[in-house]
Amino acid sequence: MTQPPPPSPWAPPESAWSPRQEEPQQQPESDTAVFSAVEPDTAAIQVDPSQAETAAHPHVADRTSRSRMPQADEPPPGERPAPPLGPKPPVMLNPLPRPPRSQSDGYSNAGPHTASPSHAAPTPRSHAAPAPPAHTSPGPRSHAAPEPTEHIGPARYNGPPPPAESPPGWDATQEVASPWGAPQASPPATAPGRAFHGQPPTTPPPPTAPPPTALPPPTTPQAAPSQLSPGQPPRSPAPQPFAHPPAFAGPPAPPAQVQGYQAPAGQMPAPQMPAPQMPAQPMLGQLPGFPPAPPGHAPPPGYPPMPGQTPPPGTGRATTTKGWWRRNLWGLIALLPVLALALGPSVKDALDTYNRVDAHEAVLPGADGWVSYADVRWRLVGFEPATDLKTSDDQPFQPPANTKVWRATITVDAGDKWATDKYVVAGCNLGLEDSEGRRFTANPTELSGSAAGRRVATCSPEDDDTPTPWEVEIYFVLPESAQPAAVRILRATELPRYARFPVS
């Protein structure tokens, strides 16, 4: 059986109505009942009507709601005492789910962020028996101490001590193991009666977290409908708003902000705690906001100087460009043969075409007037206007109007090849170039009707038995105003070379 706690100085006088005097007889605690373990707490809450405001805490409200589960030995609703007059119990805001727990979990009043039963120490419940010596230590939550928040605290941790690495100002008792795995931290702002075992914090509480006494009175003192049967009166007496007992003169819990934690609805938001200052790591001055690189640190070759560093004299953009060429040296070298392979065929084709269709390499005569071209020696022996042309019937030939006929005499020396090769000069082309670069052919159509016009312009002699060297005589018809510049001898097999005899 649950024994009533010792008289608390915060307890109301005996004359006040207290369901605690009746509830223990009506609801004997059962070790097998999951929710019976929290029933005494509920009773404790109901003992002191002045702490009804604290019952508005979700944790407390949750316990209260669970404590209203019908028990086997609970009298029927009709036998319950009449609800007391006065304000109704506060509304239970956002009750957090809580897994069922056994009585032997080692937690006297477990909240949603309590350790799993496997981690529980076999500590007897604080209210199931007279306070054991361990609970008589002078602590704010000890049952032995007249601490007003003893019965309203949502959780009390009796397990292993919290890690010593907790940041300053953080209540180590708030870090408890979660029954779902990773340890979590209980919201400190939602535990006004939580014991504070650490040093008094130096950070004052934020203005957004007023003391519990500043909380407004409950506006809906009706219990949750889902927890009451239709027509069932509330079991708890109407809690009265009360002022926070002044016995706990210690500072409030230090503000703490647990990452990922969101305060339940109806609770005051947890104050923001500044992020812990991490030791700055030198980042070699590459990023803004980081300290510059140490003086001895130098960037890799080819990279610009780092911020905060003075580039060496004579370096800068030129150094960067030089570094780029240095880094890509082998790639650039490998690119040369690739370019040659890619462009070579096209360039060769273009050059072959250019050399095949046009003669642009002149072979000029030497001091003696001879030119060695196409395995034959050539010499221009005469170039003059032809004014004595005759027709086929030996009559004077009159050239076309506004034209002028020029005669060129060329000596051809085929040498020893002439004896064996009569085609050594076959296919030669004789032409004349004027001062304007215009090119004329020999023995043109304009000489038709003359003896010269009937003769094909060729480099070969009239008779193959003619000994070498021999002479050929050719005629050109130019506009009267044109000025001859050079006689050209060309063989298609010698392109782009040709023999050129200047005449001006």
Binding site: P400, F440, T441, E446
Partner: protein, 188 residues
């Protein structure tokens, strides 16, 4: 990797280069310069100027007559070579439907047979004979070029012939007297 990619792209471009295909004729068409009667029109290696046009049913060339069921069109052209000696290897009449009527090969044409050479700066006038249907003789264009076989991507002169009415064409096609074709001559 970049080199291989560059070579691959170059190979694709080289293979894609449009040498042959359906649009080769249009892509490699000659550079045509158009003109009217009385003005010189360039064909790159020479300049041509249309002097006159006449028609006939019977054409006399070197004492021989050549009769046609359509009509003979004789155009007199003055040709002057520009930079080098050249020839007229291509001569044709184009009708309004872009049909091409090549120079007649029923006889040797001294002016446009591809054998007559023209010296730079020496103008030569001559007649070119075409044999065309009577219904297209009213509107024709003359095209001249130097190459004999391949006129692609080379200069070509196009001169629009004067418009003639059907009555004139009928008169050409019904006249009994032969028209003697003139020989080319150098003009001043």
């Amino acid at each position: 990797m970049l080199l291989i990619a560059a070579l691959a792209v170059g190979g694709v471009v080289a293979n894609w280069r449009p040498i042959d295909g359906d649009r080769a004729d249009r892509r490699e068409r000659p550079y045509i310069e158009a003109g009217q009667v009385g003005e010189p029109v360039s064909a790159r290696s020479f300049e041509a100027e249309l002097v006159s046009v006449r028609g006939a049913r019977l054409l006399g060339v070197r004492s021989k007559g050549y009769e046609t069921g359509g009509v003979w069109i004789l155009v007199r052209v003055r040709v002057t070579a520009t930079t080098e000696d050249t020839t007229i290897g291509y001569a044709a009449l184009i009708d309004d439907r872009d049909r091409e009527f090549l120079v007649s090969n029923r006889f040797t044409q001294l002016f446009a047979d591809g054998a007559r050479t023209f010296q730079p700066g020496i103008p030569v006038e001559g007649e070119i004979a075409f044999e065309v249907p009577r219904d297209v003789a009213t509107s024709l264009r003359l095209r001249l070029a130097a190459p004999l076989l391949d006129q692609r991507m080379d200069g070509m002169a196009e001169i629009t012939l004067p418009k003639v009415d059907t009555a004139t064409v009928d008169k050409w096609a019904t006249q009994q007297d032969p028209v003697i074709m003139e020989r080319p001559e150098v003009v001043s």
